[in-house]
C-alpha cells in the first residue's frame, strides 16, 4: 500500500528537513520500520530499545491514534496518511520552578 507519512516541524531535523514521505507498507509497523532504516535518528526518537513506541511521540493513522487501533499491527490502506505527533513544550517563559527556566 502506498501511504504518506507526515513529519511535523519539530521532528524534521531528524528527516533532513523532509515534511512528507512516501512509503510502501502493509502495516503501520512496516511503514515505521522503513522510516527507521531511512532516518536512524528518527527511529531513535520513535522507538525504545525494545522496539516499543515511546510514550511522548504518537502515531496517527488518518485522525486516529494507533494505540487505540491495533498499534503497530494496524493494517494500512492505499492512500492512508500517517502523522507523527510529538509532545511539544514551547509556549513561553518560565513559570515553573526548575522547569526549563535555565534556557535563558
Amino acid at each position: 500500500m502506498a501511504v504518506t507519512v507526515r513529519i511535523p516541524g519539530p521532528l524534521r531535523r531528524l528527516t533532513q528537513g523532509e515534511g512528507e514521505l512516501q512509503v510502501e507498507a502493509q502495516t503501520v509497523g512496516e511503514a515505521l520500520a522503513i522510516l527507521r532504516q531511512r532516518y536512524p535518528q528518527l527511529g531513535q526518537r520513535l522507538f525504545d530499545g525494545e522496539g516499543q513506541l515511546k510514550p511522548f511521540v504518537n502515531v496517527y493513522l488518518d485522525d486516529e491514534d494507533i494505540r487505540f487501533l491495533q498499534e503497530l499491527d494496524t493494517p494500512l490502506t492505499d492512500g492512508a496518511v500517517l502523522t507523527l505527533v510529538p509532545a511539544m513544550s514551547g509556549g513561553d517563559e518560565k513559570v515553573a520552578k526548575n522547569g526549563r527556566e535555565g534556557e535563558r
Binding site: 511535523p8 516541524g9 519539530p10 531535523r13 515534511g19 535518528q41 526518537r45 515511546k54 510514550p55 511522548f56 511521540v57 504518537n58 496517527y60 485522525d63 486516529e64 491514534d65 494505540r67 487505540f68 502523522t83 505527533v85 510529538p86 509532545a87 511539544m88 513544550s89 514551547g90 509556549g91 513561553d92 517563559e93 518560565k94 513559570v95 515553573a96 520552578k97 526548575n98 522547569g99 526549563r100 527556566e101 535555565g102 534556557e103 535563558r104
Partner: protein
C-alpha cells in the same frame, strides 16, 4: 456540546457602559445579553504571561471575562516583545503579571485582574486553580503542564492547552469530566535533552498569536456552553504549510490520573517525573563543580592552556556570532558524535546562555568524561564579563 460552566441563576447585570462596550457580542444570538452576563460572572486562570498568554489574556479581557488570574514569575525583557504583545517597550524590566495587568485594565477597566507573581508548584497549584472556572495552559515546560493537568483533573476543571515550537502549534481542551486529559494523549514527557524551548529553538512571532487566540476562543465557549470545543480533539497547526489538522484524542482507560483505576491521586514531584536534573540548569549552570566562569576561561586561554572549546549551538546561530576558536557540535548531534571527543582532553562546552551546554555536559559525564566544564552563562555571560564587543541575542 460541552455544558456551560456558569449557572444561569443570579447572573450579574450589565451597566449601560458595558452594554455599549459589548454591543457586538450582544448582537450575536449565541452570546446575547445572557451570554455576556455569563462572561462577566466567569473567571479564567492563565498560567504563563508570554507568547500564548499575551493574546489569550488580551482577548479574554476585551471579551469581558469578569475575573482573570495571571501566573508568572518572570520579568519582561527585550527578546519577549517580538511575540508577547500584552507587554511593551515601556514595561521592560517590570514583572510580567504587573505589565500584563496594566495593559488589560487599560483595555477593559470593568474587569478584575488577579496576579500571582510566583512559581506554580505542587504546594500552591490546587489553591490557585480552584478559584477559577477555566484554566489556560500557556506555559513553556513539561513539569508545569503535567502539574496543571493533574490539578485540573483532581479539581474537575477544564484545561485549555496550547503549545508552540518554531512554526508548529497544538491546541486542545483537556477536561476529564467529559473527555481525555493531557496524560491520555502523552502519558510521559520526553527526556529533557530532547526538548528545545523558545529560548534555544526560537519561535515564529505570530505563531503564539494564532494558538493563544484559539485558546481564548475555547475558554469563552466553555464559559458560555456554546459550540463544539476541542474536548477529545487535538488541533495541529503548521504555519509554514498553512495547514490545520484535527485528530482524535480518546480517553485512555489506562490513564494513570483520570482512568478508572488511577495510580496518581495527588500532586507529585513534577521535576523528578519529567527528569529535570536536581542540579537544575538555573542561570546556565551545570552545578558549581562542573562550571567555569567566563573570567576563569579567559585567563586560562590567555595563559595558553590547551583547552578544546566545543560550541553546542545550532549552525544557524553561528551566523549571528561565533566564539573564537570553538568547534561546532550541535547538541542535537552530540550523542552520535561523541567519538569525535577525547575524554583525556580538557573540554569546555559553550552555548548561548549556558543551559544547552549544561545538558551536553550531562551527556558527556554520563559517557565517562571527567575533564569537561560548562561555560557558565554561555556567550551571554562572556559578552557581559569578558568581551563587551560580542554580539548578544
Amino acid at each position: 456540546m460541552t455544558r456551560g460552566l456558569i449557572p444561569e441563576e443570579n447572573l450579574p447585570m450589565l451597566t449601560q457602559e458595558e452594554i455599549l462596550r459589548y454591543s457586538r457580542h450582544l448582537l450575536i444570538p449565541e452570546v446575547g445579553l445572557k451570554g455576556q452576563r455569563k462572561l462577566k460572572a466567569g473567571s479564567v486562570l492563565i498560567v504563563g504571561t508570554g507568547g500564548l498568554g499575551s493574546p489569550a489574556s488580551l482577548y479574554l479581557a476585551a471579551a469581558g471575562v469578569g475575573r482573570i488570574g495571571l501566573v508568572d514569575y518572570d520579568v519582561v525583557d527585550e527578546t519577549n516583545l517580538q511575540r508577547q504583545i500584552v507587554h511593551g517597550t515601556s514595561t521592560v524590566g517590570v514583572p510580567k503579571v504587573e505589565s500584563a495587568k496594566q495593559r488589560l485594565l487599560d483595555l477593559n477597566p470593568d474587569i478584575t485582574v488577579e496576579t500571582y507573581n510566583t512559581i506554580l508548584t505542587s504546594e500552591n497549584a490546587m489553591e490557585i486553580v480552584s478559584k477559577y472556572d477555566v484554566i489556560i495552559d500557556a506555559t513553556d515546560n513539561f513539569p508545569t503542564r503535567y502539574l496543571l493537568n493533574d490539578a485540573c483533573v483532581f479539581l474537575g476543571k477544564p484545561l485549555v492547552y496550547g503549545a508552540i515550537f518554531r512554526f508548529d502549534g497544538q491546541a486542545a481542551v483537556f477536561y476529564a469530566e467529559e473527555g481525555p486529559c493531557y496524560r491520555c494523549l502523552f502519558p510521559e514527557p520526553p527526556p529533557p535533552h530532547l526538548v528545545p524551548t523558545c529560548a534555544e529553538g526560537g519561535v515564529f512571532g505570530v505563531l503564539p498569536g494564532v494558538i493563544g487566540a484559539i485558546q481564548a476562543t475555547e475558554a469563552i465557549k466553555l464559559l458560555l456552553g456554546i459550540g463544539e470545543t476541542l474536548v477529545g480533539r487535538l488541533l495541529l497547526y503548521d504555519a509554514l504549510e498553512m495547514t490545520f489538522d484535527l485528530i482524535k484524542v480518546p480517553k485512555n482507560p489506562k490513564c494513570k490520573v483520570c482512568g478508572p483505576e488511577p495510580e496518581i491521586t495527588e500532586l507529585i514531584d513534577y521535576e523528578a517525573f519529567c527528569g529535570v536534573p536536581a542540579h537544575d540548569h538555573l542561570e546556565g549552570s551545570a552545578g558549581a563543580q562542573w562550571d567555569i566562569t567566563p573570567k576563569e576561561l579567559a585567563e586560562r586561554l590567555a595563559r595558553g592552556d590547551k583547552i578544546r572549546l566545543i560550541d553546542v549551538r545550532e549552525p544557524h546561530e553561528l551566523e549571528i556570532v561565533r566564539f573564537p576558536g570553538a568547534e561546532n557540535i550541535p547538541l542535537s548531534q552530540l550523542p552520535e558524535r561523541l567519538h569525535e571527543l577525547d575524554s583525556t582532553e580538557e573540554i569546555v562546552l559553550i552555548c548561548h546562555r549556558g543551559s544547552r551546554s549544561a545538558r551536553a555536559l550531562d551527556l558527556l559525564t554520563a559517557a565517562g568524561f571527567r575533564k569537561v566544564k560548562n561555560l557558565r552563562g554561555g556567550l551571554q555571560a562572556w559578552a557581559e564579563e569578558v568581551d563587551p564587543t560580542m554580539v548578544v541575542y
